[in-house]
């Protein structure tokens, strides 16, 4: 959506990022309520990792405003294109570890009690889990925060990577916790852009309503459709937009 706003509608980059973060807020709250109620979101692990995503988002949003002031919009476009291209392979290769095995919690994880359990419907049992390597997870989350604040995207792919790959959380918990964290990360980035005057309320309002409605409908209408199918469906669109923004940024 950000590339469409920038290229097709001529919205300035920080304005587009601000609107993007507003849509992330709407999506996260719309789907998050159910995840949190069903105790799929791990509040403890999510809050712990926000110590990395929130400063990342603050830096990212400040960077977007700075680069835009310096007339480096083209550089931002190219960077956005590269990020979008980078998302593609990780989306295809996403492993979706249903239930991880052999996770060894590190000292920090044990000290903070980063363990939990959730009820798995299809398996019909409670599944306990524990967070593994917290240091690389924090590192990836910091990067995800910067990307989120800079480009106004959720960076969910990177969050899930951190949660599944390094913390070794089960897929459902990773997805729900990433969604939960996205709202707080987006609030950090959106807060800055909002306070700096880069969120046009007349532009953001209808987009926020549409996104919240779409997220709500999606969670009602599409539960049968697998996440992976939906993600793969969008890949050609993402690839085309990525190439388009890079070409624009390079002035071709």
């Amino acid at each position: 959506m950000i590339p469409v706003l920038v290229i097709a509608f001529g919205v300035s980059f920080p304005n587009a990022a601000g609107v993007g973060l507003i849509t992330i807020l709407a999506t996260s709250s719309a789907t998050g309520a159910a995840y949190v109620r069903d105790r799929l979101s791990d509040l403890r692990i999510g809050m712990f990792l926000e110590i990395a995503t929130v400063p990342g988002a603050l830096i990212g949003a400040a960077l977007t405003v700075y680069l835009s002031h310096e007339n480096l919009n083209d550089a931002l476009l190219v960077a956005l294109g590269i990020v979008l291209l980078a998302i593609i392979p990780s989306t295809i290769a996403r492993r979706d570890i249903e239930l991880p095995v052999g996770v060894v919690p590190d000292a920090r994880s044990r000290q903070l009690g980063l363990v939990g359990r959730y009820h798995d419907g299809p398996l019909d049992r409670d599944v306990p889990y524990a967070a593994g390597d917290t240091s690389p997870a924090l590192g990836v989350m910091f990067g995800a925060g910067i990307i989120s604040g800079m480009f106004g995207i959720g960076a969910g792919v990177f969050k899930v990577l951190s949660l599944e790959r390094f913390l070794g959380l089960p897929m459902k918990v990773a997805t729900a916790t990433s969604n939960f964290m996205m709202g707080v990360t987006a609030a950090a980035g959106a807060g800055i852009l909002f306070a700096a005057g880069y969120v046009n309320p007349v532009l953001a309002a209808p987009i926020a309503i549409g996104t919240a409605g779409g997220a709500y409908l999606g969670s009602r209408v599409l539960p049968g459709l697998r996440n992976r199918t939906v993600r793969l469906m969008f890949l050609p669109v993402v690839a085309a937009l990525a190439i388009e923004v890079i070409l624009r940024g390079l002035g071709i």
């Binding site: 919205v11 304005n15 507003i22 807020l25 709407a26 996260s28 709250s29 998050g32 309520a33 159910a34 949190v36 109620r37 105790r39 791990d42 509040l43 403890r44 692990i45 809050m47 712990f48 926000e50 110590i51 603050l58 949003a61 400040a62 239930l99 095995v101 996770v103 919690p105 903070l112 009690g113 363990v115 939990g116 359990r117 599944v127 306990p128 524990a130 070794g168 089960p170 709202g183 707080v184 609030a187 950090a188 959106a190 807060g191 800055i192 909002f194 306070a195 700096a196 005057g197 969120v199 046009n200 309320p201 007349v202 532009l203 953001a204 309002a205 209808p206 926020a208 309503i209 919240a212």
Partner: protein, 140 residues
Amino acid sequence: MSAPSPAANVADDPGALPPSAYLRMSAVLRIGLLAAIAILASGTIAYVLKHPGATSGDVIASNPILRYLSLSGLISGLAGGHVEAYLTLGLLVLVATPILRVASGLYYFYVGRERAMTAITFIVLVLLFFGILVLGPALR
């Protein structure tokens, strides 16, 4: 099932936040979203009625938010019935919803006497306010 269940060796007791914490945070999200959407939807309808001929170009060219970024500006805008002030308020509610959730997490960790988690959540909250009250206005 012969394979040991994952992480079976760790404590059975999960995150240990009370069940009410989950229900309350879920309610915070739902109420925050519904309030924001209600304000934004009625504001958008009012905007369209007021500016029937507005194109997307007009909307993008005008960014009225700077007038409503101070508390006094926002209040006088709301009192004066300016649609843009209501839209700004709706977006504020949307941004405030996750922040409220962090604040409620802080409460539960504090009540549960979890020093480390309380400190972490407190820092996150401080950073969020720093962004909105200090860093954002500095970038204006």
